[in-house]
């Protein structure tokens, strides 16, 4: 060894590293240590540098020259990307080398690549030696934690312009000032402005600049050209009233959700005072998120028979998988799945209505369970019922027969399009679940007054009802009476709370997790039974106790915690915990189905990496906190 020669190579290495973060902040002696302890390795294009099956990682790599792609390969991951390209000065795999675990990603050279390689022991020593490096690594881990907590979205591309995500606020994707007119503006002038400015839509605003209507190119065809309307009339006579508006602080996914749910192509962004800030079109979203949301929705809404819907059902699933792969969070994802499944279900109902005359009947289709809560995962069966009104002059038996006949066909078709029959017969074709409003009220009242075990179980399914089709006010009325009954019967809520405490989060006293609770799945945790359900049950009790109308668990926690005076951060931590468990469930189901197995909820925590385990543990702690709150509130 010659000190002058080594110094030259070490200096050159230090010079190169110093051009990149975090090395630019590191102490000279730490950098020299890093360079002296490093070896240089070469990886030809397409060579695998690190992969999960190589076992615990004992080397930290820094790219000297070339490009390396990180790809997620594992069952369950926390990083926000599905694949990411690393270049000169970037190091990997930080998390795995710190934890001395197998990497969850595969790292592949996508061009001829040279890497500095630092043995794990020296990596640890470097962390002790250098404050900035230590900070960088721990912050990196913290970011990972954060990412998985908040479930940040995918980096669609390295390019900054495309680094927007479904979580960014609407204000971030509004680039143009909205074009708008007053209601009195003549149609001719509006159309001329639209043509001249190449704009697809025109917002009509009042004197305070608040949107009151929208007029689009396709409206021009349908409402002016075809009826042959005179062009000097006011635009207010042909605009669509009550346009969909969202706060410009709302996340982009809200706009996408609104488009999916209401079949609109434009959503308006308004500020706190309701003043128009911009227009978000479907096209804006699709440059952002390349998913065929609209095509799928069109396929669903345009489907003329069940076979076509069957394909759409498969598309919904595929879309959800794509979104999962892109890192869309659990809350958004389950809402999307539910929204699109709603659309499928509605179309099935519409197709059947053509053959079943329900004219003159006031009725609504109810969704229960996870669908009622907007929390559907990939594995979904049917949970539905019907509520109807029987007026004095109608024959109740006859109405019931007509509705049951109709439901039978809907249930059958739903099974065909992929929502399998409910094993517990929680379906609208079950006469027990095709009831008048009074019938449902009586049923609920009975369960609340006599909360025996079966009643409590029923409550956990049926109290999460939501109107999916038909007269929505029937749902509102039923909700009102349910909340009134629950509030007036504290003993029922106490029984519910006791019931919700029967299963505890699987946190061990010695080990991290208890994995022997399910005899059929040794070493595994049932994330639904011991995870999600604890949150769902507690949220239901809080919602009933505080008169919250919502059925969605996250919404229930948000709103009821406000009414209960719970700190916002505390509620946010609970929601994060719930979302994380849901995300693990979704990823696990995705993985299982990709490998041709029925998606269950049983995961083996040993197969998770250290980070996932830590977050999962924290999530279970949040579940335990919720239960402690129940215990305290209901003196159990």
């Amino acid at each position: 060894m010659s000190s002058s020669a080594t110094k030259m190579l070490v200096d050159a290495t230090v010079e190169l590293l110093k051009r990149h973060s975090p090395f630019d902040r590191m102490e000279p002696q730490a950098l020299a240590f890093l360079a002296e302890k490093s070896q240089l390795g070469y990886f030809p294009k397409d060579a695998t540098i690190v992969s999960p099956d190589m076992g615990p990682v004992n080397t930290f790599y820094i790219i000297q020259r070339g490009k390396v792609q990180a790809k997620q390969t594992g069952d369950i991951n926390v990083t926000e990307y599905s694949s990411l390209t690393l270049g000169t000065g970037e190091g990997f795999p930080i998390g795995s080398v710190m934890a001395r675990r197998a990497s969850t990603n595969a790292y592949i050279a996508i061009e001829d690549t040279f890497c500095y390689q630092l043995p794990a022991d020296d990596f640890v020593q470097l962390m002790q030696m250098s404050q900035p490096f230590n900070l960088f690594c721990t912050q990196y881990i913290a970011t990972l934690l954060n990412q998985s907590r908040r479930q940040l979205q995918v980096q669609f591309s390295q390019r900054a312009a495309e680094q927007q995500s479904m979580n960014s606020p609407l204000s971030a994707i509004i680039t143009k000032k909205p074009v708008c007119v007053t209601p009195e503006t003549p149609i001719r002038q509006v159309v001329e402005t639209m043509v001249a400015g190449h704009v697809g839509s025109m917002v009509v605003v009042d004197a305070e600049h608040r949107p009151i209507g929208i007029f689009t190119q396709s409206d021009a065809m349908k409402r002016i050209l075809l009826p042959g309307l005179p062009l000097d009339g006011p635009i207010s006579s042909v605009m669509s009233k009550h346009p969909h508006a969202l706060s410009d602080h709302s996340p982009v996914y809200d706009a996408a959700l609104a488009m999916a749910m209401h079949s609109v192509r434009h959503v308006l962004a308004v500020d706190e005072e309701g003043k128009l800030q911009g227009v978000v079109s479907e096209r804006d979203l699709f440059t952002l998120q390349r998913v065929g949301l609209r095509q799928i929705r069109q396929t669903i809404e345009g489907a003329t028979d069940i076979q076509a819907l069957k394909q759409a059902g498969a598309d919904v699933r595929q879309l959800a998988l794509n979104m999962l792969a892109q890192g869309v969070g659990a809350e958004q994802l389950t809402q999307f799945i539910s929204a699109l499944n709603d659309t499928v279900t509605r179309r099935v109902i519409q197709l059947n209505l053509a053959e079943h005359d329900l004219y003159g009947i006031e009725w609504a289709w109810l969704a229960f369970g996870s669908e009622g809560r907007d929390e559907q995962t990939f594995s979904t069966d049917q949970d539905n019922g019907i509520v109807f009104i029987c007026t004095d002059i109608q024959n109740r038996d006859e109405l019931e027969l007509r509705l049951l006949d109709f439901s039978q066909h809907v249930n059958r078709d739903l099974d065909t399009v992929g929502f399998t029959y409910c094993k517990g017969n929680i379906m609208a074709c079950n006469p027990e679940l095709c009831l008048t409003l009074e019938g449902w009220e009586e049923k609920f009242d009975r369960w609340i007054r006599v909360p025996e075990p079966q009643a409590l179980l029923n409550a956990s399914i049926f109290f999460d009802f939501r109107v999916l089709y038909g007269a929505s006010h029937l749902g509102d009325r039923l909700r009102m009476s349910l909340l009134a009954m629950a509030r007036n019967t504290p003993v029922f809520l106490r029984m519910m709370a006791a019931n919700a405490m029967q299963v505890q989060p699987p946190l061990g006293k010695i080990r991290d997790f208890l994995t022997d609770l399910e005899p059929d799945y040794p070493g595994c945790i049932d994330l639904k039974k011991y995870g999600a359900r604890i949150f769902i049950d507690a949220a239901r009790i809080f919602a009933l106790a505080t008169g919250v109308h919502n059925t969605n668990t996250v919404q229930r926690i948000k709103l009821s915690s406000q009414r209960l005076g719970v700190q916002a951060e505390e509620a946010a931590a609970i929601i994060e915990g719930f979302n994380y468990i849901q995300l693990l469930r979704l990823r696990h189901q995705h993985f299982e189905t990709e490998h041709g197995r029925p998606g269950d909820n049983c995961i083996n925590p040993d197969l998770l990496n250290e980070l996932d385990r830590r977050i999962l543990k924290e999530s279970f702690r949040q579940a335990r906190k919720l239960q402690q709150r129940l215990k305290l509130d209901y003196q159990l």
Binding site: M1, M8, Y42
Partner: protein, 236 residues
């Protein structure tokens, strides 16, 4: 007598102190490198020399730079450099090439010590260079001069081996800089012996990776590739 002693060795060898002679003997007794082992189990020493000119007979060796490729990896801490003390400083034009100035040349290491330390660094590892003929003859000439005896070293010349490994990419021999460019290898400081050796060492990593993929996974395979290529070219 001095010119005779250069031919007959004995007197030249006398300029080695007993301690230096013992060190040379230690080197000689080192077991030969096993050239039939995989690249991944071999230590290669990639060397580059700077000389007072390009005439292999007249010009003298000024500096040796070397970088080791051990089991496929370059050890940044395992590099070598030595400047040989010159009785006569090389020309100004020459200094401009390698940047080893007159005083640095005069303050260099005693040539015997310098060459011994190179041998001790290299051991019996196969030496690798680009256009190895020049490096080989400059080092052999200096050892002959200062040790008064012939030292046989095993060299591998990438200039012959590389075109054979990448027949699909290049036709015939190309310059080192073109190879470096092809694989994105930077040279820190051109015509610095260590820097050139470092760049050549990275090229060696490329060569042994490609060689392994083609079944030429040993130093012997490289030596044979070089020999076959040389004779083939001569036949042209």
């Amino acid at each position: 007598m001095s010119w005779l002693s250069r031919f007959f060795g004995g007197a030249g060898n006398a300029s080695l102190s007993p301690e230096q002679r013992a060190r040379l003997d230690v080197w000689r007794r080192l077991p030969s490198a096993d050239i039939s082992r995989s690249h991944q189990l071999t230590r290669y020493v990639v060397a580059d020399v700077e000389a007072s000119g390009l005439n292999m007979v007249k010009d003298s060796l000024i500096a040796i730079g070397a970088v080791a490729v051990v089991n496929g990896m370059i050890q940044l801490a395992d590099a070598f450099e030595v400047v040989l003390r010159q009785d006569e400083v090389s020309t100004h034009a020459n200094i401009l090439i390698h940047g080893i100035g007159g005083s640095a040349q005069q303050e260099g290491v005693d040539p015997v010590e310098a060459l011994l330390s190179f041998l001790e660094y290299a051991g019996k590892a196969p030496l690798v260079a680009y256009h190895a003929e020049f490096d080989r003859r400059m080092i052999a000439g200096a050892m002959k001069k200062y040790f008064g005896t012939n030292i046989e070293l095993q060299w591998i010349d990438l200039a012959w081996v590389m075109p054979e490994l990448f027949r699909d990419r290049v036709n015939g021999r190309i310059e080192l800089d073109e190879w470096l460019q092809m694989f994105g290898i930077d040279n820190i400081q051109r015509h610095n012996a260590v820097s050139d050796a470092y760049a050549t060492a990275k090229l060696t990593q490329v060569a042994i990776t490609q060689g392994a993929a083609q079944g030429r996974d040993t130093a012997r395979a490289f030596i044979e590739t070089e020999r076959a290529r040389r004779s083939l070219r001569r036949a042209d």
